[in-house]
């Protein structure tokens, strides 16, 4: 197992380097300009100076190598420094990856954005799973019953109606008409007592439910299909022949087997939590990682977009591995060597 893991991790390195190169090349080819949103009265010569101060006049390869150096060497070294001596606030001499919009270290920006993304997007993923699994199992067990029909209908709606519609619909109902919930998420709110917790729940309610609805729709269909597939297999018939009760068969035998592909899918979906929910974050102004990415793209902030997308790539590669390992744990027939 250990050998398998280390081999997979080693293979990941060239993959990630290739990904980082492709990302950088794509961003370099994109035609946007970091001075594009300056007021139109700022003359072109000044814009040119700004681009030069950002290092945009250097050749592509030099910029790429600089980024690699900053990201793979300077950033980890800085992190080690910070862990060893957390009280040292003097700026280090090593150049970190600096964003072009904020002129501040990209990694700090990402760390600042992680809490709200995990709270909202992560929580909605969890809620989505908790809704989806029971619905999926019951729908399959009672196939074509009224419960299944309604479940199918709701998942179809959830799957096909985009979050920018459900989000605005929710705001129109709960914020505009009823004035129950805030439509703008306060990222600096801190939970200290009961009333602030209640506020946190209120401000999270709409984005979490909108996203959970979307996630659950997908996952419940998958769960249903997986259970259905198992229902007619031989081992189920054997269990019935032994005289086991339906409930015991369902929970004890079928569920475990049908969870195998679903758990893989859940694990593979975890990186998307970190990717944030670009549309939902925009609508409710959650300003998490998804909003950071879209701002970066619009402002042609290449270091930010490059770093952020690369971090996503690392997470995807990592969770692919996690999914494979989980597979082995869940299904004793699969052994890695």
């Amino acid at each position: 197992m250990l050998k398998y893991l280390s081999r997979r991790l080693l293979f990941a390195i060239p993959t990630l380097i290739a990904i980082s190169f492709v990302l950088f090349a794509l961003l370099d080819l994109a035609p946007s300009d970091p001075t594009g949103s300056l007021p139109i009265t700022i003359p072109p010569e000044v814009r040119q100076e700004i681009r030069e101060s950002l290092g945009l006049d250097e050749p592509f390869l030099i910029r790429y190598v600089k980024w690699m150096n900053q990201f793979f060497i300077n950033e980890p070294l800085n992190l080690i420094d910070k862990i060893l001596d957390p009280n040292d606030t003097t700026p280090s001499s090593r150049l970190r990856v600096l964003s072009w919009q904020q002129r501040s270290p990209v990694v700090d920006l990402i760390v600042e954005r992680i809490p709200q993304t995990l709270w909202v997007v992560g929580f909605s993923y969890l809620v989505g799973i908790l809704i989806a699994l029971p619905i999926g199992v019951i729908s399959a067990y009672k196939q074509y019953s009224w419960f299944d029909q309604i479940g199918t209908f709701i998942s179809m709606v959830g799957f096909s109606v985009p979050t920018f519609f459900t989000g605005i619909l929710a705001i129109t109902i709960f914020s505009v008409a009823l004035s129950w919930l805030p439509s703008v998420y306060d990222t600096t709110h801190e939970v200290t007592d009961f009333s602030s917790l209640w506020f946190q729940i209120k401000q999270m309610a709409m984005p979490v439910l909108v996203l959970a609805f979307y996630n659950a729709a997908q996952l419940s269909r998958f769960m249903r299909a997986s259970v259905l597939e198992n229902l007619n297999l031989d081992y189920v018939r054997t269990a019935r022949a032994k005289g086991l009760k339906d409930r015991a068969i369902l929970i004890g035998h079928i569920l475990r087997n049908s969870m195998i592909p679903v758990v893989t899918m859940i694990a593979l979906g975890v990186p998307t939590i970190f990717g944030g929910a670009i549309v939902t974050e925009q609508i409710f102004r959650v300003n998490g990682l998804g909003a950071l990415l879209i701002d970066g793209i619009q402002a042609a902030d290449i270091p930010l977009v490059q770093t952020l997308t690369f971090v996503f790539a690392v997470l995807i590669v990592l969770f692919n591995l996690v999914a494979d390992v989980l597979y082995g744990i869940l299904d004793p027939r699969i052994r890695y060597s």
């Binding site: 946007s32 594009g36 306060d186």
Partner: protein
């Protein structure tokens, strides 16, 4: 078996929970690293003394010299102040200065080569130290450092030196006669920063001074409490602000994100915010929202003019990159737009009131000039364009030999009047584009519409074919304006030498590629003449040359549009300076 299943569930839930449970720990360290005096417990602000502002474009920094857009400059304008601001009528009002220098009060020398500002002696920075002339001199050095890339360095191009005569007097000397010497340190684009705070941030170091850039010490009504880039700025009132009892609000927040429509909703429909900035949304949508009765729409007219720019050079895609949209000493004229009659016909066919009604409402007025305000510069010579004249346009084209072909599109010598019309992606602009296409259809001109994302269109990437500088189209539409009340720099943009071409990496402000010796001479004269009456006459003549030659076709004089909640008083929406220029006077 059941135990095992439980394990699986727990594992899945644990995975997600583990991710979630990290967040409080991170936010704590966050608050510490960011400092800026952020308190651990956020008390719920008292509604009466807290001001909630919404900017849908996100402030990325509070250092206006590193700014990437108006949003940063305005967020910083609550903290940093210039020597003088422009009020809502484009009149200069002293901010950190005692008075506006003029020749009468001896502030400007006889040949207009230097200006002397007297600073208010009673001003202190929010950290308690006195504000002096050294800070002004330092700001000049900071912005003009050659390795820096200051976003407003054009304000200092003609500045030879800035010197502190005494602690409360600053003299700016220019390299040439400058009849309007109020560029440097006037308006929120060029405020004063504290020397003590920024002294180690010169040149390339500026980028690494995150703490300073995110928390500048200022003289303005507010100071930063917490800044999260592209998300939120928390301000508290500056106790050492020079005006007793101001600002009226004790705390303020600028929240960012989302889009203009939802920003309008948060003020006008849900009432969660007091003020929302820059709402370029169709007037119909805004009108519907105001019916909720919670807020009002504000308009601030400045020098913004939405216009169509006509390409006078040949932009045919079959031309190579060495010829397309280039002037080449006049050897590469546009096949039909180089004809005055065609350009004039295009302008006559447009019904500007329709564009205003559908796209701008009370936030726009039809216009035929490129210089619309301040009022004394307004030329009355071009009013006839305000009424649509389809027949007149047809006649012009008929007389010029452009006759309708079999499909109704006019042609002459095998050339069809077929136009590629581009603009930036924006629902109001695209709506207007569609109307203009219909109007041009009526006079037998065929139009192909195109829209390009703003970050590409207004960007200067020399490799991109889609920037407004390159102008690989026949006509394009956008808004342009000038800073402050003096249009000299703006009018200098139409000189022959300002044309974008590959030798200049395609940058330049003469977008129509117009070239007139008469214009160049007159605009040079404007830079030398000091007499106010004479300047006004020259500005009017230059404006008339631009619009009567139809280098540009002005359409709409646009206002800034913002929304305020009903209880918010004291807001004077300003089309010439930061919208937050008088935030110290805002109250309930």
């Amino acid at each position: 078996m059941k135990n095992f299943l439980g394990c699986v569930f727990l594992a899945v839930i644990g995975l997600v929970l583990a991710a979630c449970s990290q967040s409080p720990a991170i936010s704590e360290t966050d608050a510490q690293t960011h400092g800026n005096g952020a308190t651990d417990t956020e008390t719920v602000e008292d509604l009466d003394t807290h001001l909630n502002i919404l900017y849908w474009q996100e402030p990325s920094t509070l250092n206006p010299f590193l700014s990437g857009g108006t949003k940063d400059i305005e967020a910083a304008s609550m903290i940093l102040e210039p020597l003088a601001n422009y009020d809502e009528n484009a009149k200069m009002v002293p901010t950190l200065a005692v008075e506006i220098p003029s020749q009468e009060n001896g502030g400007i020398n006889d040949d207009y080569t230097s200006i002397t500002w007297k600073l208010r002696p009673d001003v202190v920075w929010s950290d308690g130290t006195p504000f002096t002339a050294d800070d002004v001199v330092f700001t000049w050095q900071y912005c003009t450092h050659e390795e820096f890339g200051c976003s407003v360095s054009n304000y200092f191009t003609d500045v030879e030196s800035v010197t502190a005569v005494d602690p409360h007097t600053v003299r700016i000397v220019f390299t040439r006669t400058t009849p309007h010497p109020y560029g440097p340190f006037v308006g929120s684009l060029v405020p004063i920063i504290q020397k003590e705070q920024f002294k180690d941030c010169l040149g390339l170091r500026a980028q690494e001074c995150t703490e300073q850039n995110f928390g500048p010490i200022g003289t303005g009504p507010f100071k930063v409490k917490e800044f999260r880039a592209n998300d939120v700025v928390h301000y508290v009132a500056n106790e050492s602000y020079r005006e007793e009892g101001k600002p009226f609000f004790r705390t303020a927040t600028i929240k960012a994100g989302g889009d203009a429509t939802s920003a309008a909703r948060a003020v006008l429909e849900t009432g969660e915010f007091d003020y929302a900035w820059n709402l370029q949304v169709e007037p119909e949508i805004l009108d519907n929202m105001t019916k909720a009765g919670k807020g009002r729409i504000l308009f601030g007219f400045g020098s913004l003019v939405e216009r169509i720019i006509v390409n006078l050079t040949n932009a045919d895609s079959s031309l190579g990159p060495d010829r397309r949209s280039q002037y080449l000493d006049g050897t590469n004229p546009h096949p039909f737009l180089s004809e005055l009659a065609v350009r004039k016909a295009l302008s006559l066919a447009i019904d500007r009131s329709v564009l205003v009604e559908t796209g701008y409402g009370d936030g726009g007025r039809p216009t035929c000039n490129v210089v619309v305000l301040p009022e004394e510069y307004y030329s009355d010579a071009n009013e006839e364009c305000k009424t649509q004249d389809i027949e007149g346009a047809k006649k012009l084209l008929d007389d010029a030999g452009w006759v309708p072909g079999r499909d109704g599109i006019r042609e002459k010598d095998g050339i069809r009047l077929s136009i590629l019309y581009q603009t930036s992606t924006n629902s109001v602009r695209q709506g207007n584009q569609a109307f203009i296409k219909q109007m041009w259809d009526q006079i037998g001109v065929e139009t192909e519409l195109r829209n390009i994302d703003g970050s590409v269109f207004f960007g200067g990437d020399a490799a991109s074919p889609d920037t407004y500088y390159k102008f690989f189209a026949d006509v394009q539409m956008y808004t342009s304006n000038f800073d402050g009340e003096d249009p000299t720099q703006y009018l200098r943009g139409w000189r022959c030498s300002e044309m974008p071409n590959p030798d200049k990496s395609w940058v330049g402000s003469n977008i129509p590629r117009a070239c007139s010796e008469e214009y160049d001479n007159l605009v040079e004269k404007l830079s030398m003449v000091a007499d106010r009456e004479e300047r006004i006459e020259i500005v009017k003549t230059l404006n008339d040359m631009v619009v009567q030659n139809y280098w540009e076709i002005p359409l709409v004089h646009r206002a800034r549009v913002s929304a305020a909640t009903n209880s918010l008083m004291g807001v004077e929406l300003n089309g010439w300076d930061s919208e937050l220029w008088n935030v110290e006077n805002w109250h309930r």
